[in-house]
């Protein structure tokens, strides 16, 4: 430790060499013996290289109608270095570390000499706001220290030189394209500041909130202004509690209660009292989820008896089921909608980062082995002027979300193997981002138990102001002001910190160094410690929490939702080894308290008590939420199907519609093969680009046993009936998994409800109705839900307008299993001469169909499910695949038979002939219905001639008929019920229509 001068308040005092300074002092220390300087290093692409950032800026501006043809942009990225550097040292850092001199050219100068742009160019700098995670700056600082050069602080930035652009529009350009106000600041012209912010010292001051004297109006105001987002009844309950205690709460006590009671953490609406009414029934639930979805799982487990393969459901951070003798697998899917609406990259980034911590925090810690992601956006072509204030353009949201998931999942080394993307105008202000993670966990490590007097150990990332109020914020409705109001809730993740935590977690788990672990998610330490200590009690010493920078109040330290943090409970005698292990891999581990058996949560800062709450009140004190829910089925009007002689154009349109079109642009950006277990990839077929139904991987390379991941979702059906929408989503998830070979008797499913404001009885009614469907179908099929999550209040309120609610969006994620991945099949046609079989019965169920969508037709019955038929059919298809009678198999979903046949044909690059008269159909036949109806539980299956008899034997008792054959041609031809061809298409054209739309 060098000596220097410390500024304490206004005074300076001298410290001798060797003095150990506090963090605050270090931040205040200026080594005036050497002169501190702020260097700027601009890194330009060499003339031989493309200026990608600039090109992208121009393309995007023009795409959004901002950029003129004359618009020109040059760009560079760079670093600000603060330290006692001379020019030679700064040059050395620039050339040897920061710039890649084969393709880049660094320019180095002191900020004091920074010049503005010349010859008509406007200079715009974009850099992260102080306090926003800047991983590259952190790493650069570390690497410079390796070079043994004196740098104290680093910040990164991007620089744009813009010309040929209408200067009035510069601000618009800044906020629509160049920067995001939620996390970044814009500096026009050269930098002028003299040193980088390193945070200012914090002076402790206890805040008491005089809640006892407040009237209802004041309580309401407090709930909103304080971003507690609690109801009046809840505020009154808190008030009463403290009146009984004869004292007022501290701010941190209020925050802790608000987080514990938030929708996000307690799911109080769906787990609350709901009186539900629809056309045929009236039910009063004491706990809606418990009595529908959980109840179904319990019943299934009871029926399975000793063959019960569920291990831990709806308890831990992820649902756990058996896999093989040594390992179980767990699965969790979360949403991160509101942050992604404000800052798509950071929101999605921390969304996937957060859900990966769920399996890591399940039992004694699972190893993440696969990711999934499902997104809902507004259609990408909406013009900029149609965007409500405070809304980002869907294209930007999509790019940001995809790269956010990509950069985190890829860096963690977890394959992203399954997903989907849906488009609907109503997702404009409130996009949905579902992220899922599968974990592998040793059988004997699947449960955990914190012991009284264990130490509370924080491991991983440091705590900053990021993510303050995330939990309560996600319970609020988004408005055009949300961004300014809740910017703090937006974060950027640092995947490598989490990977480092994972590496030590698995090692520590296997050495038995801790008794329990959980992740710091929404609610931060507040909910993590609260959960682990619920049965025991806890005392936390806030001043011990490692901080990213000075200046956090004790309250912020406690409720911050900074990423990449896990909480462990560690026995005193194991702590030294735990600490040493973490240090050996550069992971920060700190004792921040102890689980003292008092039944209370006590928080102290430097010995001063700042909170004292009973676990009972936190976890049991919340007044039950009581809600009305009504559902009135909309009157069904028939869909008037157009009669055509040729439906090729309809097919082409559906293939080119956003929901059906190829997602290769997204899929290829994800590493779906890292860890080496990939057995059936998301994209399959001759050219590795056909749309696989589900992905399969081997979590253990030494065995052939596989895990199958698929999903089902169809917001379009919500219009007609959320009961059948839910049933259809389950059906789709299951048939996708079975289509590649999963055993339908061992598929675990997850529910993720994303709905609008459930304070409206009809909105909640549509949700309850879908939960009832989940219960009914789950029990009927013996397919248990093992985990789930809900996100309510997904609405956006444009300035001075009615809120726009998202459509009911229920995602069903399925995790199936195969004993031997070598028995799996894919959807691409394999050989000319094969027979094509339709499995399952088609009905005229065109409600919410894509045929209706592309033809702008409304009405029609939405697809229903006959549970018994579904169960039989899935089993039969599985048996047929196990028997090796299936060459290829594809499920029928959006676009029905026609789309499935086209996809199988162009993925296998083989011709197909179909005859609609042979298709098993129930009701009034029409070409349109047979081709495009979206009836559930249907497959199109390729069978080799010599296997047909065996195949049919397996399909005994299930509707199945030969409807055509595979040929070596290049066309899809379909004979209609009248005998003439109703589709006659070149596969190359169909494929082109399908590949193009989302190739961004």
């Amino acid at each position: 430790m060098a000596g220097g001068l410390i500024q304490g308040g206004a005074k300076w005092r001298k410290v001798p060499f060797g003095t150990i300074l506090t963090r605050t002092e270090q931040n205040e220390t200026f080594f005036i013996s050497r002169n501190q300087m702020l260097w700027e290093i601009d890194i330009y692409p060499k003339a031989s290289q493309v200026d990608a950032l600039a090109n992208e800026t121009v393309t995007e501006s023009q795409a959004l109608g901002l950029g003129t043809d004359s618009m020109k942009v040059r760009s560079c990225h760079g670093y600000l270095l603060q330290g006692a550097l001379d020019r030679e040292q700064a040059e050395k850092i620039a050339r040897e570390l920061l710039a890649d001199c084969v393709v880049e050219e660094p320019v180095v100068f002191p900020v004091s000499e920074a010049k503005d742009a010349e010859n008509g160019e406007t200079l715009v700098n974009v850099l992260p706001k102080p306090g926003v995670m800047d991983p590259v700056a952190n790493s650069a600082l570390k690497a410079i220290k390796d070079m043994d050069l004196p740098v104290e602080a680093v910040r990164t930035f991007r620089k744009f030189f813009i010309s040929g652009f209408d200067t009035e529009n510069i601000d618009k350009l800044c906020w629509k394209i160049l920067a995001n106000d939620a996390i970044e600041q814009v500096v026009k012209g050269p930098f002028t500041f003299e040193h980088l912010e390193v945070g200012s010292p914090y002076h402790f001051e206890l805040t008491i909130v005089p809640i006892r004297g407040m009237n209802d109006e004041e309580l309401k105001t407090l709930a909103i202004k304080g971003q507690l987002y609690l109801s009046l009844v809840e505020m009154q309950t808190i008030q009463k509690h403290f009146q009984d205690l004869d004292r007022d709460p501290t701010d941190v006590e209020l925050e802790t209660i608000a987080q514990t009671w938030s929708e996000h953490c307690s799911h109080k609406t769906l787990a609350g009292r709901i009186s539900y009414r629809d056309d045929e029934r009236e039910i009063v639930f004491q706990n809606m989820l418990k009595e529908t979805i959980f109840a179904a799982t319990q019943e299934i487990r009871k029926n399975l008896g000793e063959n019960d393969w569920c291990v831990s459901v709806f308890k831990d951070n992820a649902g756990v089921v058996t896999f093989d003798d040594e390992y179980n697998i767990c699965f969790k899917v979360e949403t991160h909608n509101h942050p992604s609406a404000l800052e798509p990259y950071g929101g999605a980034n921390t969304g996937i980062g957060g859900v990966i911590r769920d399996p890591m925090g399940t039992g004694m810690g699972a190893k993440p082995v696969a990711n999934t992601d499902v997104f809902c956006f507004a259609p990408p072509e909406i013009p900029l002027e149609d965007l409500p204030q405070g809304v980002l353009h869907p294209k930007r949201v999509m790019r940001g979300v995809v790269s956010g998931v990509r950069d985190y999942g890829n860096r963690m080394g977890i394959p992203t193997i399954n997903g989907a993307v849906f488009f609907d105008e109503r997702y404009l202000g409130n996009p949905l981002v579902y992220c899922g993670n599968v974990g592998l966990i040793p059988v004997d490590k699947s449960f955990k138990k914190t012991n009284p007097n264990d130490l509370i150990v924080a491991v991983g990332g440091r705590t900053g102001r990021d993510g303050i109020h995330g939990a309560t914020f996600s319970s609020a409705e988004l408005t055009h002001e949300s961004e300014s109001l809740s910017g703090g809730a937006v974060q950027i993740g640092n995947a490598i910190t989490e990977k480092m935590v994972l590496d030590v977690l698995l090692e520590a788990r296997d050495r038995g160094l801790y008794t329990a672990v959980t992740d710091c998610g929404a609610g931060g330490f507040s909910s993590a410690v609260g959960e682990m200590g619920e049965e025991i009690g806890a005392e936390v010493w806030l001043e011990k929490i490692p901080l990213k920078y000075e200046g956090l109040s004790y309250k912020e330290m406690w409720i911050s939702e900074a990423q990449e943090r896990m909480v462990f409970s560690v026995a005193d005698d194991k702590w030294p080894e735990m600490k040493a292990l973490c240090e050996s891999e550069g992971v920060e581990a700190t004792v921040i308290g102890r689980y003292v058996p008092t039944g209370r949560l006590v928080l102290k800062y430097d010995g001063v008590q700042v909170a004292d709450l009973t676990m009972d009140f936190m976890h049991g004190g919340r007044p039950p939420v009581v809600r009305e829910a009504v559902y009135a089925p909309p009157a069904v009007s028939p869909m008037n199907l157009p009669i055509r002689t040729d439906y090729t154009e309809d097919l082409t349109k559906i293939l080119g519609s956003y929901n059906v079109a190829s997602k290769h642009w997204v899929v290829r950006q994800y590493d779906h093969e890292v860890q080496g277990g990939s057995a059936v990839k998301p994209l399959v077929g001759v050219n590795n680009d056909g749309p696989g139904d589900a992905s399969v991987f081997r979590p253990r390379l030494h065995t052939m046993q596989g895990v199958v991941i698929s999903n089902g979702m169809n917001p379009c059906y919500g219009e007609c009936d959320t009961y059948w929408m839910a049933a259809s989503a389950i059906d789709e998830a299951l048939r996708n998994a079975v289509a590649v070979g999963a055993d339908p008797e061992k598929i675990a499913i997850l529910d993720n409800f994303c709905w609008g404001n459930t304070d409206r009885p009809e909105t909640l009614g549509s949700l309850v109705r879908s939960a009832i469907a989940c219960r009914d179908m789950s029990i009927a099929l013996g397919t248990p839900f093992v985990s789930g999550k809900d996100s309510l209040n997904n609405e956006f309120r444009p300035a001075g307008q009615e809120p726009i609610s998202i459509p009911p969006s229920l995602l069903i994620s399925a995790m199936g299993q195969v004993n031997d991945v070598r028995k799996c099949v894919t959807m691409d046609l394999k050989s000319a001469g094969s027979a094509l079989y339709a499995v399952g019965t088609t009905k005229e169920e065109m409600g919410g169909s894509h045929f209706g969508l592309v033809n702008k037709l409304s009405g029609g019955e939405c697809p229903k499910v006959d549970f018994d038929v579904t169960k039989k059919t899935l089993k039969a298809v599985y048996d047929a695949i196990q028997a090796g009678t299936v060459r290829s198999c594809h499920d029928l979903s959006e676009g029905g038979l026609a789309v499935a046949a086209a996809e199988m044909a162009f993925a296998g690059e083989l011709g197909v002939e179909l005859d609609l008269t042979a298709v098993p159909f129930d009701g009034q036949k029409s070409d349109a219905a047979i081709l495009f109806s979206e009836s559930n539980t249907r497959f199109l299956v390729e069978v080799a001639p010599e296997k047909e008899a065996e195949f049919l034997a397996a399909l005994e008792g299930v509707a199945a008929a030969k409807i055509g054959s595979v040929n070596s041609g290049t066309k899809l031809t379909v004979k209609g019920i009248a005998g003439g061809n109703v589709i006659d298409a070149e596969l190359a054209n169909l494929k082109a229509a399908w590949l193009k739309p989302l190739d961004l």
Partner: protein, 268 residues
């Protein structure tokens, strides 16, 4: 004898386990060791015959891919690494490992102006896709003995091989350092096979990043060090092949295994 493989881990390394699986399947013994252990005790290198830098995102690939780990190695372990290579041992760098090798002087000298680098893909995006590789005629690299073509996946954002100038490229070729090159994929009857442009660069996506001379892998002058962008450790078992369900008969093993076997057999 059964060679010992040191699989070097660092924060962000994430292909170490499957790489160990590949080496073990090829008959080697492996140990995954964190770079911090080597910094504490450089003598750890001595018991190993093969050093492997696996794929991943060392230190997040912050600044640029592999930059921080290689600068750490350059400033602290440079001599040990040179010594390891000069002792007639083998060094393999896959993906991030290749990016690290190039920046640590094990493949090409790093004193003075750098000769080559791995820059951002021309498409400016991370890409996971399988690529067809052919071994260069002059290649004398141990790892590629008896391998003339290879079908394995590439998965990276910064894999575009760039050289300082034409002379450098010429020198690499003369020294037999150009090891693997992207080649056309020609199994689709719909998609037109990719062509070579005026500069002899194979079109995207067959050359997934736009690498000069379609270079996917580079060796050192001794032929005992190899760096490559694609992932041979991801094609060890037949079911890892993207079209294994289209095959009537499955092969015994994946095409990537031979590279690891070559390394093991070099010591027998």
């Amino acid at each position: 004898m059964k060679p010992n493989v040191l699989i070097l881990r660092a924060p962000g390394t994430n292909c170490d386990l499957e790489t160990a699986y590949a080496f073990e399947k090829a008959g080697a013994a492996t140990e995954r060791i964190h770079v911090n252990r080597l910094l504490e005790d450089p003598s750890l290198f001595e018991k190993f015959q093969i050093l492997c830098f696996p794929g991943g995102f060392s230190y997040g690939d912050d600044i640029s891919s592999g930059r921080i780990l290689s600068s750490q190695l350059l400033h602290n372990l440079s001599d040990q690494l040179q010594k390891f290579r000069d002792a007639g041992k083998l060094v393999l760098g896959i993906c991030n490992g290749f990016q690290i090798l190039i920046k640590t002087g094990l493949l090409i000298p790093v004193d003075g102006e750098p000769l080559a680098t791995l820059a951002w893909n021309n498409c400016q995006r991370f890409q996971d896709r399988w690529v067809e590789l052919k071994t260069h005629a002059n290649c004398k690299n141990v790892f590629l003995k008896g391998i003339d073509r290879l079908y394995i996946p590439a998965a990276h954002a910064e894999g575009r091989f760039v050289v300082k100038d034409a002379e450098t490229l010429k020198k690499f070729e003369e020294n037999g350092q150009i090891a693997l090159q992207y080649a056309p994929l020609d199994f689709s009857k719909f998609e037109e096979a990719a062509k070579y442009d005026a500069n002899g660069i194979l079109q995207y996506p067959d050359n997934p990043n736009g690498a000069v001379a379609n270079i996917a892998g580079l060796g050192d002058e001794t032929g005992r060090v190899l760096g490559l962008m694609p992932h041979p450790e991801r094609h060890i078992d037949p079911t890892q092949h993207p079209r294994w369900t289209r095959r009537d008969v499955q092969p015994e093993e994946g095409e990537g295994l031979q590279m690891f076997r070559n390394a093991v057999e070099y010591f027998n």
